[in-house]
C-alpha cells in the first residue's frame, strides 16, 4: 500500500524534474548560444553568429508485478514471493551548431560578413549532380518507362 502511494507520487515528480532540466537545457540554445562573446581587436569588435539546433527526449516507465496465486493463498512454493516493482528510464539528445556570419564593428561602420562553408556546398552540388546523372543513366537504360 505504501509502495503504491510512493509510486503514484514519485512518478510525476521525477518526470517533472527531468522535464524542467530538459527545458533548462533547451533554453541554453537561445540568443546566448547564437551570438558568441564579442572579440576586441584594437578598434574593431567581432561578434560571431551561429545557428543552433538542439533536440532531446526522454522516457520513463514503472511497473509492478501482481501478487502471485501462491502468495495470496499463503502456500510455500518456489513461486511464492515473486511480486515486485521496478522502473527505468532513458533519454538522449543532440545539439548542433554551425557558424553563419560574423559581425564586424569598426570605427567607420558595421558590416556583416557571411561564413560560407564550401565543403557543404560542394557536397550538395555532388549530391544534385549524382541525382541528375543517375536519372539520365536510368532513362538511357530504359529502366524508367516513357509512359
Amino acid at each position: 500500500m505504501i509502495n503504491e502511494e510512493l509510486t503514484q507520487t514519485n512518478q510525476p515528480q521525477e518526470i517533472e524534474i527531468v522535464q524542467e532540466t530538459m527545458e533548462a537545457l533547451l533554453a541554453v540554445a537561445d540568443v546566448s548560444a547564437v551570438y558568441g562573446e564579442p572579440i576586441e581587436h584594437g578598434d574593431t569588435i567581432i561578434i560571431p553568429a551561429a545557428e543552433v539546433l538542439c533536440g532531446m527526449g526522454f522516457g520513463l516507465g514503472y511497473g509492478e508485478g501482481s501478487e502471485s496465486v501462491a502468495d495470496r493463498e499463503g502456500k510455500d512454493t518456489p513461486r511464492a514471493g515473486n511480486s515486485g516493482r521496478g522502473g527505468g528510464g532513458g533519454g538522449g539528445g543532440r545539439s548542433f551548431s554551425r557558424p553563419v556570419a560574423v559581425i564586424v564593428a569598426e570605427p567607420d561602420g558595421v558590416r556583416v560578413e557571411p561564413v560560407v562553408d564550401v565543403t557543404k556546398i560542394a557536397l550538395a552540388a555532388l549530391t544534385a549532380a549524382g541525382f541528375m546523372l543517375g536519372m539520365i543513366a536510368r532513362m538511357s537504360r530504359g529502366e524508367i518507362s516513357k509512359h
Partner: protein
C-alpha cells in the same frame, strides 16, 4: 498552439565606438504533443545598429551556405524532373 513557439529575442547589446549593436535571434521551439521530446532551433536574424545621433539601422544576417545548398538541391530536383518530362515527351 503552445507546442510550437516562434519568438524573436534581443541579445546583449555591445557598444563599439559611437554605436550600439543589438543582435536579434529567432528561436523555434517544438514540443511534440503526447511525447516527452523537444526541438529548439535558433538562428541569427539581424543586428540593430544605433548611432549616438539617434539613427537606427538594421543589418540583416543572411545564411549564405544554407541558401546556396537549398538553391543547388532545388535546381537538381527541378533539373531531374525537367529531364524526365523531356524524356517522356520525346
Amino acid at each position: 498552439m503552445d507546442w510550437i513557439t516562434l519568438e524573436t529575442k534581443a541579445g546583449k547589446s555591445v557598444t563599439a565606438g559611437n554605436q550600439t549593436l543589438t543582435p536579434l535571434a529567432q528561436s523555434l521551439h517544438i514540443k511534440l504533443p503526447g511525447t516527452r521530446g523537444w526541438l529548439a532551433w535558433s538562428r541569427p536574424v539581424s543586428v540593430v545598429v544605433q548611432s549616438t545621433n539617434d539613427q537606427e539601422r538594421v543589418l540583416p544576417i543572411q545564411d549564405v551556405t544554407f541558401a546556396t545548398i537549398c538553391l543547388i538541391l532545388g535546381a537538381g530536383l527541378l533539373g531531374g524532373l525537367l529531364t524526365l518530362l523531356f524524356w517522356r515527351h520525346r
